[in-house]
């Protein structure tokens, strides 16, 4: 009884249970859903969302929001082929360059939020617009098929039958959980998210932490972009667009408060899987687009009612 109550009050665990439940029901009732290959595929898709949502989780924990995630994913996917030098057989130089750019974009976001005191939502939205403009310049004129071996390996290989993307996601998850729960900076992010003034007066530097935070968000979005590129073998303008809303949705479905200061990446992980599962379920249903949209919304709402209750006053 006590144990059951503890679970109900632990959003990440609850969300995990929800995933298990949905998988069980869908696996029993839908042909092909429960196949190992299919579940593995779902995880692979969830990995992209999960990695993109890693940065988003941190930003939301600190009370901000990053609307440039989609644009950063697109930028990395488009730029990687252009920036992978032919002389580098491993492809790691291109990867490093592109990730550096993603981090740079994040740093710019952070700088705007701290030095210019622009609300993060505005800063990152403006950044997304800005990047769109850059893409108009860069895209469409040159080859964007990926030949970079590192990225192809990431997107296509399956060491021990596990997709490399999922392996990467596991690594990212481990780092994220370490960062949030085992490193001082995680506690500082949370404190800044819950009460920036008190945190500042306790010696937590807003400036430094905001910069680090948005840089991390840029980094993870870039990583997601690379994975996505590897999985699709080709980048195109708009490839990152779907990941903006899904990254936010995964965070919130995982029980992290959008107002900051409360939550954990442990919730985002099942949140991402839940979203992918819902999309897959809706895809196989044969209904008109309108009805499918209604079903998707209702499912999200239903899942939210089970998992996302805010603490009572």
């Amino acid at each position: 009884m006590m144990r059951a109550k503890a679970i109900l009050r632990n959003p990440p665990l609850l969300t995990f249970l929800l995933v298990a439940l949905v998988w069980l029901i869908a696996g029993l009732s839908l042909r092909g859903f429960g196949a190992y290959g299919h579940l593995r595929y779902l995880l692979e898709l969830a990995a992209v969302i999960g990695i993109a949502a890693a940065g988003q989780t941190l930003v939301v924990l600190m009370g901000g929001i990053d609307l440039s995630v989609g644009a950063v994913i697109t930028v990395t996917a488009i730029l990687l082929p252009l920036l992978s030098p032919a002389w580098d057989p491993t492809g790691l130089v291109g990867v490093a360059l592109v990730l550096a750019i993603a981090v740079g974009i994040g740093l710019l976001n952070g700088a705007g939020a701290t030095f210019l005191q622009v609300p993060p939502i505005i800063m990152t939205l403006a950044m997304a617009t800005f990047l769109q403009g850059m893409l108009v310049l860069v895209a469409g004129g040159s080859a964007v098929t990926v030949q970079n071996p590192a990225v192809l390996l990431l997107g296509q290989s399956r060491p021990l039958g596990v997709p490399a993307g999922v392996v990467l996601w596991i690594l990212v998850s481990a780092c994220m959980l370490l960062l949030i729960h085992r490193m001082p900076i995680g506690a500082r992010f949370l404190a800044l998210g819950a009460n920036p003034l008190a945190a500042r007066l306790s010696g937590v530097s807003t400036t430094r932490n905001t910069l680090i935070l948005y840089a991390l968000s840029g980094f993870f979005a870039g990583l997601a972009g690379l994975l996505l590129l590897g999985m699709n073998r080709q980048g195109y303008v708009g490839i990152g667009d779907p990941y903006l809303l899904t990254s936010i949705a995964a965070v919130v479905l995982g029980g992290t408060s959008i107002l900051g200061g409360r939550g954990t990446y442990a919730g985002t992980i099942p949140g991402a899987i839940l979203l992918v599962t819902t999309t897959a379920l809706i895809t196989v249903v044969n209904a008109s687009p309108g009805w499918r949209s209604i079903m998707f919304g209702s499912l999200i709402l239903a899942l939210l009612m089970i998992s996302g209750r805010e603490a009572r006053r």
Partner: protein
């Protein structure tokens, strides 16, 4: 004592949070024309009880009765309609709304369904005059200092012309002068037949104002009696349940330590051109009416607001800290008055709050050392007698215990200079004693304590030296036997008195 029946009663009420009982069958009856004191240590359940009385919470068992009639589901709105007004311990104001709009909230005068701003202004002006609020009524509450907000909160309660007025630590951030105004006001209301419930940890106020007392302890009522013939010590005995010693530790013979802080021509926020020096082993008090720059002085020294000084020397290093981190590095720490907004991260656990400033120090190899952290937290919790599970969110703690956490978190840093802004605000008398002892001990260990306080006795009995601020200027600097309540209040009000030295106001 009147014979009239009680206007508002709690009858054998029970209330618990998440299975932890707080009130276990408590009775209280508020009668017209009587000022009723509610005493109890921090976390005894006083605020919880008044939340039940005012409909903000529903009792688990038992009933609230108005005019002798048990009410089944009391809501804040219906309580207000029945003439019950509360001055909350935690302020209930909306920052962006004006003073007038806050005072009227929930009881706006209307014309044709619209708020009648003319009537509102009249009514609000009236209560503001009563409590001595002189700020323009259109000023957003967020622009007010904490003490002034407290006055708005009181005005808000009066605005409803209550039959029952409940005051939960109304003076905790008020200086002696404002507290005096409030005291006279309470007496007037009592004489008009209002039933008043008064909660305070300042026992001298209780003694001066109240005629009846209810004491809460361990979830039950341990005393419910008239205060006639009870003296100060008796009151303390009633509350603590045993004989106690002096509240303030004796002031030691002044030992001269090294200079810890020496600033000249210091300006920050309201404060202009101040001179401040402090040596190791001293407790330096900062007094004055509410909002005369005391907070800015501390924040400026702490690097939290822009400040400049002609000359500054802090622990041998010259120059003011550029930011909070630099101040911490220089061994300076700050405990804010508004613990809810500035001192604590309310939704986070006691442990997280305590650990926040020392996270980096305790980490090993970039990772947090759970064992060391747990040890430290347990240590501090024991030292400061913070009871219960340290994994609880701080917002579930009573006000006084929150204050302890806000103080405790700095101790691991072994600070050389403590900047304290009303550190005993809302703290019960036993804890106060502990805090005073602790501050003395800190001083004896060679630290410098700078203590801004709205509690004048604290300045008088605890501090070795007191600066009195008025309109951002140092109006007087008192030391030794010259520190008296009269001298402090006089200097604060701008009345020539005592041996006030230092700069005088030029206006």
């Amino acid at each position: 004592m009147t014979d009239a029946g009680p206007l508002l009663e709690a009858r054998r009420v029970f209330k618990g949070f998440f299975g932890n009982p707080v009130l276990k069958g408590v009775d209280i009856a508020l009668r017209p024309g009587r000022v009723h004191a509610l005493l109890g240590e921090n976390g005894a359940g006083k605020s919880t009880l008044i939340n039940l009385l005012s409909g903000a919470l529903a009792p688990d068992k038992g009933a609230i009765a108005i005019d002798g009639q048990p009410i089944s589901r009391l809501s804040p709105a219906s309580a207000r309609a029945a003439g019950i007004a509360v001055v909350q311990q935690e302020l209930s104001l909306a920052g962006d709304l004006s003073i007038a709009e806050n005072i009227g909230l929930g009881a706006y005068p209307r014309r044709f369904g619209l708020i009648d701003y003319a009537a509102l202004a009249r009514g609000v002006r009236e209560v503001c005059d009563l409590v001595g609020l002189t700020e323009p009524l259109d000023m957003p509450v967020a622009d007010l200092a904490l003490g002034r907000r407290q006055m708005v909160e009181i005005a808000k309660a009066l605005f409803r012309k209550p039959r029952v007025l409940i005051l939960d630590e109304p003076t905790s951030s008020l200086s002696a002068h404002e507290a005096g105004v409030l005291g006279r006001l309470i007496a007037t209301l009592r004489d008009r037949g209002v039933a008043i419930l008064y909660i305070s940890h300042r026992l001298n106020e209780v003694q001066a104002l109240c005629s009846h007392v209810t004491v809460l302890k361990d979830g039950g009522v341990t005393a419910d009696r008239s205060l006639a013939g009870v003296d100060g010590e008796g009151l303390v005995r009633l509350m603590v349940g045993r004989e106690t010693g002096e509240l303030f530790p004796p002031k030691p013979q002044q030992r001269v330590g090294k200079v810890r802080i020496d600033v000249e021509g210091f300006s920050a926020g309201l404060v202009r051109d101040a001179r401040l020096a402090g040596r190791a082993g001293e407790i330096v008090g900062i007094g004055g009416l509410v909002g005369q720059g005391q907070e800015d002085l501390l924040l400026g020294l702490y690097g939290a607001i822009p400040a400049k000084a002609d000359r500054a020397e802090i622990d041998g290093r010259s120059g003011l800290p550029v930011d909070v981190a630099a101040a911490n590095a220089a061994g300076m720490v700050y405990v804010p008055a508004d613990r809810k907004h500035e001192g604590l991260v309310l939704p986070h656990s006691i442990a997280s709050n305590i650990l926040l400033p020392s996270l980096g120090r305790l980490a090993r190899g970039g990772l947090r050392d759970r064992r060391a952290e747990a040890g430290l937290v347990a240590d501090l919790a024991r030292q400061l007698m913070i009871k219960g599970d340290v994994a609880r969110p701080v917002q579930a703690l009573s006000g006084g215990n929150q204050q302890k956490v806000a103080l405790a978190k700095w101790l691991p840093l072994d600070p050389g200079v403590l900047l304290l802004n009303d550190p005993t605000r809302g703290v019960d008398i036993e804890t106060k004693r502990e805090i005073y002892l602790m501050l003395r001990r800190f001083a004896a260990e060679g630290r410098l304590v700078i203590l801004a306080s709205s509690d004048t006795p604290e300045l008088v009995h605890l501090c070795d030296r007191v600066l009195v601020l008025r309109e951002g200027l140092v109006a007087a600097e008192l030391s030794g036997p010259a520190i008296t309540e009269a001298a402090i209040v006089g200097a604060a009000m701008g009345v020539e008195q005592g041996e006030g030295i230092g700069r005088k106001t030029v206006q």
